[in-house]
Symmetry: C2
Subunit: 350 residues, 2 copies
């Protein structure tokens, strides 16, 4: 993710895509088993980034809990992300944003955990409600190079596709194992993530085509070396319904977790909707380019020969963003945004 608050500013696609899962989170908050009062109710937000897109789901979850426990019960939200996340931006969002639960609920508290969620990072049996949005599509590591693309979904390289599929299966298993320990008995976890739709489509096709074409042009222009492009890869995957359900088996059970529901749905393409209203192709290109920049350009930039110290490091995202924006503006078309949402429930204590 891009730091300095950039992800907060350029994540409207994500803000829209998570909405259908918020209703699921509210249902989870209505049905999760609660520890006896006055124990603090813990909500974990797995993959919080800079916090902006967490405010709405966290407020919704807190409101649903308040209807059950009243205004005085302490509710602690734990926002997790990787150690290099911009936690300063997260805490400023929580303290300053008028929509922050910290400003609107006197018995709500916040904390953060800067560790990868591909491991147990919270005490056992401590989380009443879990939420993870736009996060588990990120793999724990880069499984390897993608010779013909930056996104494995559009690669024709069998080795790359197999390596990513293996890592995706392993990471999902690891994620579920860790959460299954952390959830309280009767606790619930709602996960929203990028997915493959039931036709196997990853989506964002014109955007990824524009991005790869622009990167190839950078090579042709000798701004990038071919080896640098060869190293560039976005470690995200869209998982299919079958991929997501696999650890649960036919009984929909994984250890103490039950898969209560799993839906694949299409995210609303608001960028396209705005273009249809306004006819502003430049804005269309700009919005998708800003989305890509905030979410994946920092990852691509790590492949520059000099990494963060590379003299091209500042220019690279600007140039890529401008190129992607221009290519998309030249031929606006709707984007498929395949998403999954699911509700997991941990067994009540026997």
């Amino acid at each position: 993710m891009e730091g300095g608050g950039a992800y907060n500013r350029s994540s409207r696609v994500q803000a829209t895509g998570l909405l259908p899962a918020v209703a699921m989170l509210e249902a989870a908050a209505r049905h999760a088993a609660l520890e006896p009062s006055p124990r603090t109710i813990v909500i974990a937000d797995y993959g919080a980034s800079q916090g902006h897109n967490s405010l709405l789901p966290m407020s919704a979850a807190i409101a649903a809990l308040r209807a059950r426990v009243g205004v005085d019960r302490a509710i602690l939200v734990v926002h997790t992300d990787q150690p290099d996340n911009d936690f300063g931006a997260l805490f400023r969002t929580l303290s300053d944003d008028p929509d922050s639960y910290l400003r609107n609920d006197a018995a709500a508290f916040a904390s953060a955990v800067g560790r990868s969620f591909y491991g147990q990072i919270l005490p056992p049996d401590s989380v009443t409600l879990g939420w993870s949005s736009w996060s588990v599509q990120w793999l724990s590591r880069l499984p390897g190079p993608i010779p013909d693309q930056v996104q494995v979904a559009y690669s024709h390289d069998p080795a790359a596709r197999a390596a990513y599929a293996r890592q995706a299966a392993e990471d999902w298993h690891t994620f579920l194992t860790a959460r299954s320990s952390e959830l309280c008995p009767g606790g619930r976890l709602v996960v929203q993530t990028m997915a493959l739709d039931d036709a196997g489509e990853f989506g964002y096709r014109p955007l990824l085509a524009a991005m790869y074409a622009e990167l190839e042009k950078m090579v042709a222009d000798r701004f990038l070396r071919p080896e640098e492009l060869g190293r560039m890869a976005i470690p995200t995957v869209g998982r299919s319904r079958a991929d997501l359900a696999a650890p649960f088996g036919p009984a929909r059970r994984f250890g103490s977790l039950s898969l209560e529901s799993l839906d694949i749905f299409g995210g609303e393409d608001q960028v396209w909707a705005r273009f249809e209203r306004t006819g502003d192709a430049v804005a269309f290109g700009r919005e998708w380019a800003a989305f890509s920049r905030a979410s994946v350009f920092p990852t691509l930039a790590t492949a520059l020969d000099g990494g963060r110290e590379d003299p091209r490091h500042p220019a690279f995202p600007n140039r890529l963003e401008a190129g992607v924006a221009a290519r998309l503006a030249a031929d606006p078309c709707p984007m498929t945004i395949p998403l999954a949402k699911m509700m997991l429930v941990k067994d009540l204590a026997p």
Copy 2:
């Protein structure tokens, strides 16, 4: 505090000064009332900075608790600091430092809270053990200008001295009120802080003299404007034994908190001890200058006309550090380091 891990690297004075309080924290861990198993035991580290100086006290506290509860009970350490703290450095320290409790204890967990501790920031009755080291000497805000110094302890301005004293009393009261809510019944809090010794001495006299002389030279050299120096002030105070005890009154009680012990002691001047061994005056100056830089130069730099964007912002700390180092190297002498440590206990539930 200086970011980018600088505070971690240049805080040996603090690392030494907190040692006598660590023994007190171990005693607190042996005697604090514990919530019934399997509830997570929470240790709060109020004012953690980049975490380096928290590792030793947190490991000591965890070891003392482990002797009581065994290796499996979950212990969660919550590190708090202001929102602009370098939490990235904190989480990297926790994950990478060989002395980190996260590496050495499988049932230990970590989180962070980026909010001022001059307010309640954790749920009521949730903290078994509290620790605050080198932190409560920082006031919640700058009470006003100090016309003749950057440290109010050496100012002769009655208005400045009164404003700082008022703020110091108010902040200490606020700190205790918040902690008294957060502690579990029977929980314990150990506070180590800068103090006035029983002769009323704030200490660090040669260091502060060198710093102010160097700042005045920067004005004479027209590197700083006099108005900028006029705005420079370090919002730290040394509190006397009487100041620290005041909220508790003669019965040593403040709400549900008891002041079990309060000691004023002299921090060991290891920089001077090293100089006596080595005779290396340059190293003597360099160490104290690095200590000042990491702890207070960023605060002074905010008084530059352009703040962080001021073109002199990068040069200012370098120049001040070099000047302070040279002045101290020219005339090494021991430094008084007055400190306080105290143990507070919250009542068991009636």
